[in-house]
Amino acid sequence: GSSDDSSDDGGALTMAIVAPSASDDLAFSQSMVDSVNALDREITLSITDGTFIVEEAAAAIRGYAEDGIDVVIAHGTQFGASLAEIAPDFPDTTFVWGTATDTQGLGNVFAYSPASDEGGYVNGVVAAAVSESGKIGVVGPVEAGDAVPYINGFTTAAEAGGAQVSVTYTGSFGDVALAAEAAQAHLANDADVLTGTAQMVVGAVGVAADAGVPWFGTQSNQTSLAPDLVIASQVYHWEVVLEEMLDLRDSGTKGGKAFEINLANGGLVIEFNDGYDLSDDVRASADAAIAGIIDGSVNTGA
């Protein structure tokens, strides 16, 4: 596709995503691409992915704005500082930035964030219930972004369920080998349920699959990585809040508002894997947790 025809009058809305990892990473970046594609509008989309270097992302964001793209999604918390410099230069462009809980006071920036602790909590409830050894391993990338609330929510629920949770941050979003080995380390410590977040967990899922240990996913539906062993994935449906932003934009508001996706507004969905035979009462406790979170009776601890 091409985004050259970025004229405002008539035609499709032009949107662009600048994302740190590959757009089909089964994780963070893919969640946004899938969401934009799920929008119920005619959209011309352009993607610049793999821009884990912040300065490179900044150049891409600026480039899209210069090209006259209507909505530029800066899909990475770390792009915020650059966005603060760029957004004021392009008042007619709407920038969408996340994950972030505020817009840095910028009038043409919408912010979005996932309440990833909610899905973490639900996953944790199920994890504690299926664990026999009572030990659960978590493989995290670096202690940042939505990984932290996810892991916190997960830990809260799992520990409430009587399990012992051990968290390893490998120190890298990209090091698949290290993530795999971190999962092995958990297994060596008798963990019999694993979860993890960020794109490097694909390595850890493989280890879980080989060991026959259940896995919980987040960000995207990771069932395809281990069709027999992924119990559930917390999936981000950004389209819920993107739709709202675009409506606001249509009505003349270019930004200035922060959105959250959560279980209540349908932006977060726990997708259970039909291929995994989860007992009905465990499934029921998960549904109870979801309901509790939605009505506010459950505290995820994040």
């Binding site: 590959a22 089909d24 990473d25 089964l26 893919q30 793999g50 391993g137 202690e143 051990s166 968290v167 390893t168 941050y169 490998t170 120190g171 890298s172 990209g174 090091d175 698949v176 080998a177 290290l178 795999a180 080995e181 971190a182 092995q184 380390a185 958990h186 297994l187 060596a188 410590n189 794109q199 490097m200 694909v202 390595g203 899922v205 493989g206 699959a209 080989d210 395809s224 990585l225 281990a226």
Partner: protein, 309 residues
Amino acid sequence: MGDFFTTSVLVATAASAVRLATPYLLAALGETIGQRSGVLNLGVDGVMMLSAFFAYWTVLETGNMWLGVLVALLVGLMMGVLYGVITVFFEATQGISGIGIFIFGLGFSDLLFRQQVGTPKPIRRLPNIDIPLLSDIPYIGEPLFQRNLMTYAAFALVPVTMIVLNKTTFGLNIRSVGENPQAADSLGVSVERTRFSAIMIGNAFAGLAGAALVLQLGIFQPHLTQGMGFIAVALVYFGAWKPLGVMGGALLFGLVNAVVLQWKALGIIPVSISDLAGMAPAVVTIIALVLLARRVNAPAALTKPFVRS
């Protein structure tokens, strides 16, 4: 700390060390052969990435792991031809052409992955194969003799490399062109042919390293190696250009990595200093080298293109 010194955890850590060491060992052994012939190849990381991708893709398409290994080997050989032409026939500066190969491998493997695969799909991982009797030995049986075939191959290649280097005429030629190509040339040893073959073998090993890595992981991602190839080059220096030394270096590096991960999992290393702990493998490697204080000399002709004069 007590949790760490239990048999099962120690054994698991040792097993993890051996697993982590496997790709390093393969790549570093190959680099050793190349360097002994006087050719520095800084492009190992690039070759590993390309071969890892092709191995992955082959397995993804055919489901045949050994075909994947074969393809990785061929990719390694092809990169060897490329590198050989550049450094031996075009007499290009080795340091930079190696970096060229690295950058090419980095970009091209990423590009191919995006085009041909995109979303990471898991492939079968190498199964562990127990060696009868040996695998039942307490403590060392599991880490050493319940491993996958690529690991066995890597460690088996250590004595093979030693024999080739030290006991065969080909090895004699390799060592002589690495030390004094003029002398070898004056005796009718073809410096070009010897170096070219050494490069081919070295790159083939790097190809196997890529295959071992990806088949142990069962998944591919852009920049899968995360600089492993460079560490492999460093391990050649650490091992003083000797296969056994290189093996020691790879195991040490793997072990420190494994211990750190294990300690993180056990909470011995708190999350707040998890990054500092990540420095450990490199620190230990340097300290070990300073303490050993070996004054070993590199092959005298290393990095020097041969020009008959």
